[in-house]
Every structure is written in structure tokens, then in C-alpha cells.
């Protein structure tokens, strides 16, 4: 059984969460959510997962502010952010394309990114799309900056960028991405051509590993069943779970 791209991403992201204590996943994030649930299963339940939008996998009882308070307390080790635009310094734009406020294209808005990106130690940027449209030389609006001057309180920041073609790590000292692996069916030249910003290369750039059989079985089994509570469409369409 060969893995679908989404399954490969779930397993790859789960690997970035090994050994952590608490991972939170925002709304509309089925792949990161499944990755977090997979990492939890592999941790024997030691990893705590808070899935926004889930009844079963969210334990907050203090209203909308608790996710942010909890992160501010240092109780969230990893979080996921997207970006309609992401640039080579890991700045993200969730607001709009063109000159703000008269953006040519308007996205929903920054949500909590301008806070979470600063206080969560391991922020994983996730974008299925990988093109010069969304991976740009410079974002048109900085919802949240990828780095900060040394005097700015910032225990958190970007850890990696996961796209539909590749995985980059972010080097906070150099403020640059480093290409770590390319998904099967793609190559470094293609990634370079489709990325609007310059980036470093790891000494070797392997193919992103195919999911191991145990992980893949979990994704298609208990993890898929769990994520189906919050993302029934994803579970059905991608994992073949449920009606």
C-alpha cells in the first residue's frame, strides 16, 4: 500500500512532535491535527493534544482566550500556522495581497498568529500549496514576523515549513530556510523553481521518507477515526474513513 501525499505529511509532521508535552492545533487544520494525534499515539498518550474545534480533543474551559493564555504560560510546545504568503525570512501574511488596507485580495486576517508565533517554541508552518504565488520574496503584509531583534521577548518562533513538495527547517540565527527533504515525485530543481525566495540546502537533501507501515496503519486506523470527529470530510476523502 503506497501512501498518499497527505499521509506522508501526517507522518513527517508527527516526527517533528516526538518528545513534546503539549501540541495545539488551530481550526481548519486536518493534516496537522492528524499528525498531532499520531504523535500522541506513538508517545503512549504522554503527548497532550488540543485540537481546536474538537469536543473530545480539547480540554479548554476558559473561553476563547485560554489557548493564548496557555501558550503565554509556556504550556504549549508546538503549534501550526499557515500563510497566504510566506517569505524567506519566515514572515507570514494572513491579511491580504497588495497595498494594505486596500488589498487586491483580502484573506480572513491574522487570527492569533501575531502572538502564537512569538510564544510557542516550535511553530510549524504548513502550506499544501508550494508555488511562487504563496512562497514569495517578501510578504505584502507581515501578520507575524519570522524573527525579532534580540531585545524582543520571543521564546518561540518558526521551526519548519512543510509544503506539498518539500520540508524546510528554519535557521533562526541565519534567518533562512534550509531545504531538508523533497517529497517523492519532486526534486530540488523543481522546488527551487517553484519557491519565490532563496534558501539554503542541507548537506544532503533526501527524499522525504515514505511512512513506515506501523504509522500508516495508525493514520488509517485509530488516528483517522479520531480526526474524523473534527474533520469528517478529510477523513472520508483522504483516509477512506466513515461514510
Amino acid at each position: 500500500m503506497s501512501a498518499r501525499l497527505e499521509e506522508l505529511l501526517v507522518v513527517a509532521i508527527a516526527g517533528m512532535l516526538d518528545g513534546l508535552g503539549h501540541v495545539a492545533v488551530g481550526a481548519a487544520s486536518p493534516i496537522p491535527g492528524a499528525a498531532a494525534l499520531l504523535a500522541r499515539e506513538r508517545s503512549g498518550g504522554r503527548l497532550r493534544v488540543s485540537l481546536l474545534g474538537s469536543e473530545r480533543h480539547s480540554a479548554f474551559t476558559d473561553g476563547g482566550r485560554e489557548l493564548f493564555d496557555c501558550a503565554g504560560q509556556g504550556r504549549i510546545d508546538a503549534f501550526f500556522l499557515g500563510g497566504a504568503q510566506i517569505d524567506g525570512e519566515a514572515n507570514i501574511n494572513l491579511v491580504g495581497v497588495g497595498d494594505y488596507p486596500r488589498s487586491k485580495v483580502r484573506f480572513p486576517g491574522s487570527f492569533g498568529s501575531a502572538y502564537m508565533y512569538f510564544v510557542v517554541p516550535r511553530v510549524i508552518l504548513f502550506a499544501l500549496e508550494h508555488s511562487r504565488r504563496n512562497l514569495v520574496p517578501r510578504v505584502d503584509f507581515v501578520s507575524a514576523p519570522g524573527s525579532s531583534p534580540p531585545n524582543v521577548y520571543r521564546p518561540g518562533g518558526p521551526h519548519a515549513l512543510v509544503t506539498g513538495k518539500a520540508i524546510f527547517e528554519f535557521d533562526r540565527a541565519r534567518r533562512r530556510f534550509r531545504l531538508c527533504s523533497v517529497h517523492p515525485g519532486h526534486d530540488v530543481d523543481e522546488v527551487r523553481a517553484e519557491t519565490g525566495f532563496d534558501f539554503d540546502l542541507a548537506p544532503e537533501v533526501p527524499s522525504t521518507p515514505e511512512p513506515d507501515a506501523v504509522s500508516l496503519a495508525l493514520v488509517r486506523g485509530s488516528v483517522g477515526a479520531a480526526i474524523a470527529e473534527t474533520y469528517p470530510g478529510f477523513a472520508r476523502r483522504v483516509l477512506g474513513i466513515g461514510g
Partner: protein
Amino acid sequence: MTAESAATLAARVPDGACIALAPDYSGCSIATILALAARGARELHLVAVPQLGFQGDVLIGAGCVGIVEAAAVSLGEQGAAPRFQAALRAGTIEMRDATCPAIHAALQAAEKGAPFMPLRGVIGSDLVPNRPDWKVIDNPFGVDDPVLVVPALAPDVALLHAPMADREGNVWIGIRRELMLMAHAARRTLVTVEEIVDGRLLDDPALAAGTIPALYVEAVACVPAGARPNGLFGRYPPDRAALAAYAEMARTEEGFAAWLGRQLATPEAVGA
């Protein structure tokens, strides 16, 4: 408490009022939103706690809104908020972009009667230069440690829908404590509920823990299904088909007008 309806609640909201609104997944008084549209409210200042969805788009489409303050505006699964997008393009609303915890912090400052609240992060975001009402100060307890401060935000009105209230005006909201924060921070709180229950919510120790005391509540109207087509936590899921139909119709001004006209012709259609 006199008998209230969505229309009487809407009549309590003056033009120009600053109104706090909950996210779509929380407690939205869609019935009152439609009543505001019906009476042609004007120049409302919407404060999303912290993001705005269907109810904001309807008010914007109906021409009721002057200012939107939000960390995000969208219809979620149904995509972009079409009337919000159109109003931005037309320049008929002022958008004050924020980030979720900044809105919570500003409301908590008002809740505490504090003049402002500090918030970590945000520095270096383009939100800051676009929010002249925010400032960056030196942390008085640090050295060369800049920190964002946001001024207290006390909305004129918190408008919300909840599963139940009692006859005293106590309102049960469970774990949806952004509704509690809204009620504490706002000067006046207007509520629609699914049902008015007998007895006193505060007398039940379990229910009391999730109850907004009547002290903060100006008026309660019993409007079953008052959140539809949004869902209401613990009661009913969102009506995805109705919301998708809205998203489709509201792509044009004419389509929105037709949609709103149908709602206002048969208000119960919203609750159907």
C-alpha cells in the same frame, strides 16, 4: 423583566453603538442581527471576540456597519465573507485588523476597569503601525524590553445567544466564557436564549459555574433557534446547507438583497 423579542433587543441598540459579537462556533444571536438589519441600524462598530463570521457579514451587507475590529473575518468552511470583502473593496467600512489575544486583552482591561493591558508578541507585525490606538512601551520591570499595550475596550453592547436563562435574567453559557468576558466588559448585555427555565440557575452549583449573573444582563428574549443558521453549542449544529446558500447568494449585492428580503419576510425561515 418585561417581555422581550429580537426586535425589542435590536431597538435597544442605538445607531453608532460599539457591539461585541461572538465567533460563529459560540453564541450568536442571529435573530437580533436580522432585527437590526430590519430596522436599518447604521454605523455600528463591530468588535469580533475575536473573529467575525456570518452575523458580521449579514450586518455589513445590510449597510449597518461603519467599523469592523477583528482578528479575522470569514465564513469558515463556507469560505470568504462576501459582503465584508465587497465593503472593503468599496471602502464603505473601516477595518481595524487585530490579533485574537489583543482583543481578549483589551476586553479584559475593560472587565477589570484597567486603562490598558500589556501583551507579549505582536511587535514587528504590520498590525502595529496600522493600529494607532496601540502603543509599544518599555516594560517598566525590564531593561530595554519593548512590550505592546492595548487600551481597554468597553463595547456599548454585548449581543449573544445562549441555551438558557432564568426569570431573574441569569444566563447559562457553560464553557463558552468569551460570552462571560463580553458581558463583563460591555456596558450593556442583550441576550436571546433557547428557553427560559424555572428556578434559579445560580442555585444549582453545577449550572452556576457557567452562568452570567443577571447583574450584567439588561434584557433577555426567548427566541428558540435564535442562533440559526449558525449552530449553538450543546443544542444544534450549524445548518451548513443554509450557510452555503448564503455564501453563494451574498456574492453579489443583488443576491444578498434577495437573501435578506426572504429572511425578513419570514423571520422564522432563519430558524427553520
